[in-house]
C-alpha cells in the first residue's frame, strides 16, 4: 500500500459551539491528487486549514508524513510546516511587485538568488510581462496565478489548494489545472484540492472525498468514486443532481 501523506483520527472542529467538521478517520495517500468535494459551507476549507497545520483541531489528531519524519500539529517545527503550502481561495498578495510576491516564501527561508527560477515559473504561468507590475494592478485571474506561483516556487511536499479556479475566466482556469497536473507528475507532490466543481474534480483527481455539513460521506479511488459511488448522496452529487 502507498504510504500516507495524512492520517486523521477522531477529528472534530468546533467554532462557537457549532461542530463544523467531523471526520472519524481519513487517510490521504502520498503522491495523490486528492480532491475534497462538497457544497459551500460543508467544511472543506476548515479541513484544508487543519491539513496545513494552520489550526489545531478541537479534538483528534492530524498526522502528516513528510519525507523525513512524521509530525502532528503539536510536534511540527517551522521547518516541517514549510514543507506544506496552501493556496487560498481569495489570495491576498503583498503590496509589492509580482516578482517580489513570488519571492516572498523563498526570502522567509533565507534564499535570495532565485530570480531565474522565479522568472521561469512566471513564464510557465503566462505572467512574464507582469513580473515587475505592482500586485494591485492585476486581474483576479492573474492574482490567482501569482498566488499559485508563490506556492509552487517553494517546492512543497504537500500542496493544498482551496478552490484555485473558482470565479476565474476559463483560460486562467485551464492554465492553473495544467500547472497542477504538471507539478504533480514532475515532482510527485501530494495535492489536496478543494473544489465544488465536479468536472474539475473528475479531470484532476486520483482520489476523492465528499463532505456534507461537515461530515465525511465517502472517500475512494477516483475511478470508483465517480463511476460507482457507494453512498446514494455521493451518487447524486457526482451526477450533478444535488443543488446548493
Amino acid at each position: 500500500m502507498t504510504p500516507s501523506a495524512y492520517r486523521l483520527t477522531g477529528i472534530e472542529q468546533v467554532y462557537a459551539a457549532r461542530t463544523v467538521l467531523r471526520i472519524p478517520e481519513l487517510t490521504i495517500p502520498r503522491g495523490d491528487i486528492f480532491t475534497v468535494l462538497g457544497p459551500n459551507g460543508s467544511g472543506k476549507t476548515t479541513l484544508l486549514r487543519l491539513l496545513a497545520l494552520l489550526e489545531a483541531p478541537t479534538r483528534g489528531t492530524v498526522t502528516v508524513s513528510l519525507a523525513s519524519r512524521e509530525v502532528t500539529g503539536r510536534t511540527a517545527t517551522i521547518e516541517d510546516r514549510r514543507l506544506v503550502t496552501m493556496v487560498f481561495q481569495h489570495p491576498i498578495l503583498l503590496t509589492r511587485t509580482v516578482r517580489e510576491n513570488v519571492a516572498y516564501g523563498l526570502r522567509l527561508r533565507g534564499q535570495r538568488d532565485a530570480r531565474k527560477r522565479i522568472d521561469g515559473l512566471l513564464d510557465q504561468l503566462g505572467l512574464s510581462r507582469l513580473a515587475g507590475a505592482p500586485s494591485h494592478t492585476l486581474s483576479g485571474g492573474e492574482a490567482q496565478r501569482v498566488a499559485l506561483a508563490r506556492a509552487l516556487i517553494l517546492d512543497p511536499q504537500i500542496l493544498l489548494l482551496d478552490e484555485p479556479t473558482a470565479n476565474l475566466d476559463p483560460a486562467s482556469g485551464v492554465l492553473i489545472e495544467q500547472m497542477i497536473r504538471e507539478t504533480h507528475r514532475r515532482d510527485g507532490v501530494t495535492v489536496v484540492l478543494v473544489t465544488h466543481n465536479i468536472f474539475q474534480a473528475k479531470r484532476l483527481a486520483t482520489r476523492a472525498m465528499l463532505l456534507l455539513d461537515g461530515e465525511l460521506v465517502e472517500d475512494g479511488e477516483a475511478s470508483q468514486f465517480f463511476t460507482a459511488p457507494r453512498d446514494e448522496r455521493t451518487a447524486r452529487f457526482v451526477a450533478g443532481e444535488m443543488t446548493f
Binding site: I78, T85, M86, F88, I92, L94, L108, A151, L154
Partner: protein
C-alpha cells in the same frame, strides 16, 4: 537665539517621536492582532489617550518629577528630558491608535496566508505591519504634529527657561505676553514651516510607499 530655540524644539520633538514610535508601533500591532479579555477597555484607554489634554499630562509629569514626587530623585523637572517624557506620553496613544486601525484595515486573512507560505508568527506580524505602512506613517505625522505644536505640557515641566528649555511654542507665549508681536509672529512662522516640512517629508515617503502597491 531664534535658531537655537527652533533647534531645541526639533530636538525635543524628534527624541520624543523616536521613543513613542519604538513603543507605539509594537503596541498598536499587538492591540490589532491579539485578543485578550480586557481588550475593549484597552482600546477605550487608547482612544481617550488620543485626545489627552496636554496641560493635564504636564501637571501629572510635573508632580511625578517634582522634588517630593516618586521620581524626584532624577532632578529632571525643568530640563529637556522632562519635556521629552511629557511629549512621549502625548504622542504614544496617537501612534498606537492609528497603527492599530491601519493594521486592522489590512485583510484579516493575510496573516494566515503568510503563515501558510512558511512565515513564523514574528515574520507574519512584521510583514503585516509593513503592509499597513502608509497608515503607520499617518500615525507618525499625527504624533509629530501634536507634540511640536504643543505648549501646555512643555511649559509646565520645562519651565520655559531661556537658553535651556525654551522652545518655539513657549517662546511665542512669552513674546506675545511681552507685546513683542513681531518676534512672536516670526517664531510662529518658523513653527509652521517646520511642521509643514516634516509633514511634506512624510507625505513624500508615503507616496513612495504607495507606489510599491
Amino acid at each position: 537665539m531664534i535658531l537655537e530655540i527652533a533647534i531645541r524644539s526639533l530636538q525635543v520633538t524628534i527624541s520624543a517621536l523616536i521613543v513613542s514610535t519604538l513603543i507605539g508601533i509594537p503596541v498598536g500591532a499587538w492591540l490589532a492582532l491579539v485578543r485578550f479579555p480586557a481588550r475593549r477597555v484597552a482600546l477605550a484607554l487608547v482612544y481617550t489617550g488620543m485626545g489627552l489634554p496636554p496641560v493635564v499630562v504636564g501637571l501629572v509629569v510635573y508632580l511625578i518629577l517634582s522634588r517630593s514626587g516618586p521620581l524626584g530623585g532624577l532632578s529632571w523637572l525643568f530640563t529637556i528630558p522632562a519635556m521629552i517624557v511629557a511629549q512621549i506620553i502625548l504622542s504614544i496613544p496617537l501612534i498606537v491608535g492609528i497603527t492599530m486601525s491601519s493594521i486592522l484595515a489590512v485583510d484579516s486573512t493575510l496573516r494566515i496566508q503568510l503563515r501558510a507560505l512558511g512565515a513564523t508568527h514574528w515574520q507574519a506580524t512584521r510583514d503585516l505591519v509593513l503592509e499597513a505602512r502608509s497608515g503607520v506613517v499617518v500615525g507618525l505625522a499625527a504624533g509629530f504634529g501634536a507634540i511640536i505644536s504643543e505648549v501646555g505640557a512643555v511649559m509646565l515641566v520645562g519651565g520655559n527657561i531661556a537658553g535651556q528649555t525654551r522652545v518655539l511654542t513657549t517662546a511665542i507665549v512669552l513674546e506675545t505676553r511681552e507685546g513683542n508681536f513681531d518676534t512672536a509672529l516670526a517664531l510662529g512662522g518658523i513653527l509652521l514651516t517646520l511642521a509643514f516640512a516634516a509633514n511634506l517629508i512624510m507625505v513624500i515617503a508615503q507616496g513612495r510607499l504607495r507606489e510599491i502597491k
